[in-house]
Every structure is written in structure tokens, then in C-alpha cells.
Symmetry: C2
Subunit: 381 residues, 2 copies
């Protein structure tokens, strides 16, 4: 195998993430590495925490990026909050709800599963019923924005129900943070995690999380140690916020430079302006795709603006279409996952990808690729 | 808090890691992000695995970077290999052995601890004795290169003893990989993990691991699921090497660009040439520090070339000295950890930091800072 320096091809990232990364963020990644205990790096960490609080719309002290991708943030929330024997109501309407159940089981919790058809939001009344049947449930977990289907669930209503029953909430905001309204304090979310490679337009590798005092109190009262040393939030917090800044693990310094710059750009735009931009560009993409004859998987009022799942027309070959989008147009769009594999395409409009010029270019390329596929089929017939 | 784009100060990183990162690696980090399932990125992953095999000196198929810092790689090895009730002999001669014990306990394993004074290598006879007392021990775990003390343990002999007793080995090679001889296949190491921010001179954030068939067979025969979903090697392997490349988590794409470039540079230099360079520059630093009057913590024949722990002279203030090295000379050196806090400085010569020009400059600055500290003390007296 002869190897040389890797030069990536040009790609417009319109899949389910990673999303396009702005040059300001790429440049930040390339700045010289500092030590993870350098006083100047510790100051940068303070800014990152403040910027994440702005983005999550919270005052939670425990707001920081976990040193791993979104799945690490998910696992961090569950392993810290779920104790053996805890009953956890988990809503499953896509791949990521399925993953939550898997993790609850590995924490020796007892999942109570609310199954919702993939492509539909979680109905609040189903959650209310689950709490009536399981009044001893201690946690409600659900996905705010399902990346596998493009569904947005009404997190505010679900959290209100959990609060009525004295349960904590764990919310997956991987594809919502920065792109759609998310009010961690306003909705009373107890624990939330996200990823950097969606609406924040950073490379993948970090997972912002935020936990409120109610959640931390449950962690504090645990009878057993958190099963993961790497993801033990008490130890992580000693490094990220303790007076002594006790070494836990070596923080991914350059990735944090990138996150800082991306969050700074988001603050400069304004979080509400970003939400509006994501909504506006989604509307334009939706109209355009429908004109081309592509239908959405998800009912309009449950649609997530940052991830657009469209049904693959019966006369178009899934893999060949996506390959043509790569090869001819240098655009990445996403395949379906799990039970939706082969049935949908997932088109992301996240962060830097949510721009009107991107929407127009994408529509033009999708249209051309659909026409070519149909012409080829006609010629072969 | 007014925030702007972060511009790090100039620092020569001579602590316990991160080490200085070459501009080729920094540039690689800043290349445009690809999707984690892009066929071209999948090809890059193949190259990274091949380069890691070269560096670990192994043919193990399961050789890949875990998507988190060294602590995540450590935890990955333990949570996959240790089943509840497994007896694990752990050698503790510094901070990282202590951490291993903590993780074994969280996996519900039973640690059998061999305590060795901090600053000394693990004597093979102590390991042989432990196996005699605990013939049912299933795993031996130890740190090849203790970053907290600068000690190199004879991994070859320890692995041979474990093999005689039919036990698996888990070896921490965080500060040895790339900088000192490490023969994963030659010594019969069953599971090994490392970090990117030491002798590989990458930013922190990834943890190369390698497991042989014997280790994977134990994982395959587990009675219970691995307690971490994020670090479940069977799932990770499906993404890194499976025919279908099943999505597990979103790989940290840009960090992997950086690792690829760093490993490529190491291969271009040659692994043995790198080992020799680390040894040569260590000898020069050692002579120079001794001329200044600084003594090593570790006996010469147990000394790790990549991390030099020297005793802090009684008349020099630890924190003030390190602060002066930062402020006046833009050099980071490391403090002592745990029971060695306030007693030693840790001077790293890792990867790009292991150069004769760096050694000379460092010696000159250490000498000047020691003299200034003593002059100040004399003036105050």
C-alpha cells in the first residue's frame, strides 16, 4: 500500500451529518496545540462553557463538551443517571431511541418502551399513559430531533409530563442544537446531549452536554459508582470546573479550538437568527423537492428543518442515485438507516449547509440526477 | 465576557503530553471534512489501520483508533476483556496503574494489586509471585511507560510470565508507542492501547488500540454484553472493518486526517529510527540536566526516554519555576501527579519534541530559570 498525504475530494455535505465546516472553524483546528492544563487553555474552556450555555439556553453550571462523539455524550447521560434497577421510559421512533434502550439495558436499568412508527413524532398522550402504567418510572428519555427520520418531537410537552410525575428527562438534541428552538431551562430538561457535526458545523468528535441540579443530585445520591470511569461526570467536572482543575483525561485541545470558533460564529449570528435561517431554508428545499416530485416521509407539522427525509421513487435505484450525486455533483446525501434503509434519502440542511445558495444548487443536482436515472431506465427498456 | 477568535500563545510543549505537533499534522486537521461513510474516507481508514499496525508492530486485524483520548482506549480494553468476577492482576507503580484498578472495579472484576514504589519499574518476579498466589487470574495489566514517573517496565518479560499462566495481557503504551521499542506481536501482547498526543505528536483525542485473536476470543465468549455501548469493540469493528461498514458512531473525521499524517511521517522516518532518535535526545537531555544539578527520579536502567522526571531542588519553588518557564521562555514542563506532586518536574521529549535543538534550548532555559530563582532567593535573604 503506497501512501501519501491525504487530500480529500470536494464534497458538499448534505447528509445527516457531518455538515459543511466553515473555514474559520477549520483554521481554528490547525492552530498550535496547547497543554490541557495551560492556564490560557483553561480560560478558553471557560469561554466554551459560556458559549454552550448560550446555545443550550441554560444557566446549568454542568455544561461542557464530552471528549467523544454524540454517542459518548448519550452514554455519559445514561451511565451517570441510570442506576441498576431504575425504570426508564424510552420513546422509540427511530434509530436513536433504539440505541437508548440498548444503553439503558447495559446500565442494568429497566426500559419501558413506547413504540412510535418511524417517521412520526412521539405523541404526548402516549407518554402520559406510560407514566400512568409505570408511576415508579424515574426517567423519561426521548430524541428531540430524530436524525434517522427527520422528525421533531414536542420536547416541551414531554418534559412537562415527566415533571408532573417527578421523573427526570434525558433529551437527545444531537440534530436540534443550534438549528431549531431548544430551551433547556425553559422546558425544564434535566439532561441533554448533542453533537458538534450537525447544526454547529464543527467536525465530529465532541458531544456537548448539560445537566441541571436535579440531575446532578441524582448522580450525587447514587448507591454505586458510575460504571464508566471515562464518562464519570463528577470526575470530568473536577477538570472542567473544579478550583484545582484536577487532571482526568487529556482534553482534545484542537477539537475544542474548533468548537469555540463555531460557537462564537453562532453567537455572532444569534441563536434565534440561526433557528429562523434553518426554518427558512428548509421551506425552500421542501417546495423544491416537492416540485421535482419527491414526497416527504414525515407529516409537515412534525418535520425537523435540519434533516429532510424523502421517499425514494419506485423507479430510482437508491445506491446508484447517491453514487451519482457523489460522482457527478460532489454532493453527499444520506441513505436510510435501519428499517428505512433503501426507502428514504436523508438531506441535511445543517449549520453552514443551511444556506439559500446550497438549497438551490442541491435542488438543481437532485433534479438532474432524477432525470438522468429515468432517461437511462427508458433507454434500457 | 467578550469573546473573540482564540489565538493560542507560542508554547514549546515539553510536558507529559500533548507534545509539539508538526505543521503537516496541523494542516491535515484543517482539510475539509468528509462524511464518515464516504467511500474515500473509508479508504483513508484502511490506511490508518495499516499505519497503526506498522507502528504497533503487529498484524492484528483489530487495530484502530478509538474515538476518544487515551483514557477511552484504556476503558475500551478493560470493559471488553474483563467480565464480572474476573481476577485481574494489576501492577501499580504510578497514576495510570491506579486508574486501571479503578476501571477493573467498575467492570466488576477483582483486582489483585502488585504495589511497586512510584518511580520504579515492575519487577518480573513480583508478577510471577502474584500468579503463583492467584493461579486463577485471567488477565495481567500493567503500564509499559508510566507517564506519571518516567519509568519503563520490561513488557516483554511480564507478557512471557502471563503467557506461562494462560492469562491475557492488557498493556498501557500511551507514552511508549512510537518512542521506545514496543513489539506487540513479538512480545505476545494481547491488548494494547495508546494515545496520539505523546510520541506520535498528534493533538489529543484519539486512542489507538490493538487486540489479537486470543483477546477477541475472550470478548466473543463473554456471557454478558460489554457494559459500554460506545466502546463495544464488536460494534466498532463492524464500522472500521466490516464488509457492510455498519454505522456505529460518527468518526472524528478531521482528527483521523491528523493521525494519518502523523503516522505517515513516522513511517517515512522509520519506526526504529524514531526509537533511536528518542533515545539519543534523552541521553543529551539527561547529561545536561545533571550538569545543572538536577537528579533523575528513576534509576538509569529503568528510565523511559520520552519522559524525564527530575527531583525539584529543595530551594526552588515548584509552581513559580513552572510559571517562569511558561512566561519567560514559552516552555511548558509538567508538574508531578499524585504522591509526586510538588516533588518532581516532568520533562517530555516526545515525537516532534525529541530534537537536539529542543534539548539545547530547553537546557539553556532550565539553567537560566534555576539561576534566577536562586538569585532571587539570595537577594531576599
Amino acid at each position: 500500500m503506497t501512501m501519501t498525504t491525504f487530500i480529500p475530494p470536494t464534497r458538499l455535505l448534505m447528509g445527516p451529518g457531518p455538515s459543511p465546516v466553515h473555514w474559520r472553524v477549520l483554521s481554528a483546528l490547525a492552530r498550535p496545540t496547547l497543554g490541557h492544563l495551560d492556564p490560557i487553555f483553561l480560560s478558553l474552556m471557560e469561554e466554551v462553557k459560556a458559549l454552550l450555555r448560550y446555545t443550550f439556553r441554560t444557566t446549568n453550571e454542568m455544561t461542557l463538551p464530552i471528549s467523544g462523539p454524540g454517542s459518548a455524550g448519550m452514554e455519559a447521560c445514561f451511565v451517570n443517571l441510570v442506576e441498576p434497577g431504575d425504570k426508564v421510559i424510552v420513546c422509540r421512533n427511530g434509530v436513536f431511541g433504539t440505541r437508548m434502550i440498548e444503553i439503558v439495558e447495559r446500565c442494568q436499568g429497566t426500559p419501558v418502551v413506547i413504540d412510535v412508527p418511524w417517521g412520526r413524532a412521539v405523541p404526548p398522550e402516549r407518554v402520559a399513559e406510560a407514566f400512568q402504567s409505570h408511576p415508579d418510572a424515574r426517567i423519561l428519555a426521548f430524541v428531540h430531533a430524530e436524525t434517522s427520520t427527520g422528525v421533531l418531537t414536542d420536547a416541551k410537552s414531554l418534559c412537562a409530563i415527566a415533571q408532573q410525575h417527578g421523573a427526570l428527562t434525558i433529551v437527545d438534541a444531537v440534530t436540534s442544537l443550534g438549528g431549531v428552538p431548544l430551551e433547556v431551562d425553559g422546558w425544564g430538561i434535566d439532561a441533554v446531549y448533542s453533537g458538534t457535526q450537525k447544526c454547529l458545523s464543527c467536525p465530529p468528535g465532541l458531544s456537548p452536554v448539560s445537566l441541571n441540579q436535579r440531575a446532578l443530585e441524582k448522580v450525587r445520591l447514587r448507591k454505586s459508582k458510575v460504571q464508566s470511569w471515562f464518562l464519570d461526570l463528577s470526575l470530568i467536572m473536577d477538570y472542567w470546573a473544579g478550583e484545582q482543575r484536577v487532571y482526568h483525561h487529556t482534553a482534545p485541545v484542537n477539537a475544542i479550538y474548533g468548537l469555540h470558533e463555531a460557537l462564537l460564529m453562532l453567537k455572532q449570528e444569534g441563536i434565534k437568527a440561526s433557528w429562523e435561517r434553518h426554518s427558512r431554508n428548509h421551506q425552500a428545499l421542501r417546495s423544491g423537492l416537492q416540485s421535482i416530485g419527491l414526497d416527504y416521509l414525515v407529516p409537515r407539522d412534525e418535520q425537523l428543518p435540519s434533516l429532510n427525509a424523502v421517499n425514494i421513487p419506485a423507479d430510482i435505484d437508491d445506491a446508484a442515485f447517491r453514487r451519482a450525486m457523489y460522482d457527478r455533483h460532489e454532493i453527499e446525501i444520506g441513505a436510510g438507516l435501519g428499517e428505512l434503509a433503501g426507502k428514504i434519502w436523508r438531506i441535511g440542511l445543517m449549520g453552514e449547509g443551511s444556506r439559500s445558495s446550497v438549497v438551490e444548487w442541491c435542488l438543481s443536482c437532485v433534479d438532474a440526477t432524477v432525470r438522468t436515472a429515468r432517461d437511462n431506465t427508458a433507454a434500457a427498456a
